[in-house]
Amino acid sequence: MRLLIVDDSNIIRSRIARALRDRSYQTVGLARSGEEALAIFRATLPDAVTMDLTMPGMDGIECIRRLMRLRPDTRILVVSALADKATAIEALKAGARGFLQKPFGEDELRDAMTTLME
């Protein structure tokens, strides 16, 4: 599975890539913002995306909407510290298929990705 990781934190990007490396995920791109994510997405057409919500410039919700317009079957897992239900619902309505709240454990991330890809 080809994976794009979107988060403004380098630590989180690295952590997600490390946690999924042995699970047949190939990280094809790392993006720090919605704008970067769109550019990398167009160039790499990943199967799955992990998406932060609070980022400089374009936020994650808007980025999800735009990714859905580009490729509606993309599987997007939101990974965010925003803990209110309304935000999770908004992300799912925008096109995300899963929501993992920070802080997360690596097993939780792997389980969420497994569910995402089913």
Binding site: I11, I12, S80, A81, A83, P103
Partner: protein
């Protein structure tokens, strides 16, 4: 801020450390810091600041020494414990604290991306109240602090 508000702030820090290091931080007694509405003497080392807007306005800071942050980076499996990553981590902890607090404050508790500074305080605007609330934390042998200056939007800046 009332006790429930403070607890919501503390919960995010507890969750971060417990999830990522398996060691829950000890939370000290909160106190008011007389620093003219800005982060003062409790802010040392590296500080991540999240601006808050909406019905609540102000900021939430997480401040910790480099040694604590390097220690947590190692536990996260991060080999690079240099200044860029310690700053990144301070911002991410502040983001987790503020973001998780939306469970209590609601979706209109709007949070900014982290602003991070090291050493002396720079660049953070005065909070809406003259005295910030300091919540001391102890994690392993290290001390850190959460500093909060929040008020309902009807209160004008100090």
């Amino acid at each position: 801020m009332d006790a429930a508000d403070l607890q919501a702030i503390v919960d995010g820090a507890k969750a971060f450390f417990t999830q990522n290091t398996c060691v829950e931080p000890e939370v000290g007694t909160p106190f008011l810091e007389d620093s003219g509405g800005r982060p003062g003497g409790e802010v040392t080392g590296v500080t991540g600041v999240i601006g808050i807007s909406g019905p609540q306005r102000g900021w939430v800071c997480f401040s910790a020494p480099q040694a604590l942050l390097r220690h947590v980076l190692i536990l996260l499996g991060e080999r690079d414990t240099g200044p860029a990553n310690t700053r990144d981590l301070a911002g991410e902890i502040a983001n987790t604290i503020a973001g998780n607090a939306r469970r209590h404050f609601g979706r209109n508790f709007l949070i900014s991306v982290p602003c991070v500074f090291a050493g002396t305080f720079e660049g953070v605007q005065r909070g809406p109240k003259p005295r910030a609330v300091v919540i001391p934390l102890r994690w392993r042998i290290f001390t850190a602090s959460i500093v909060v200056n929040l008020a309902e939007d009807s209160i004008r800046p100090y």
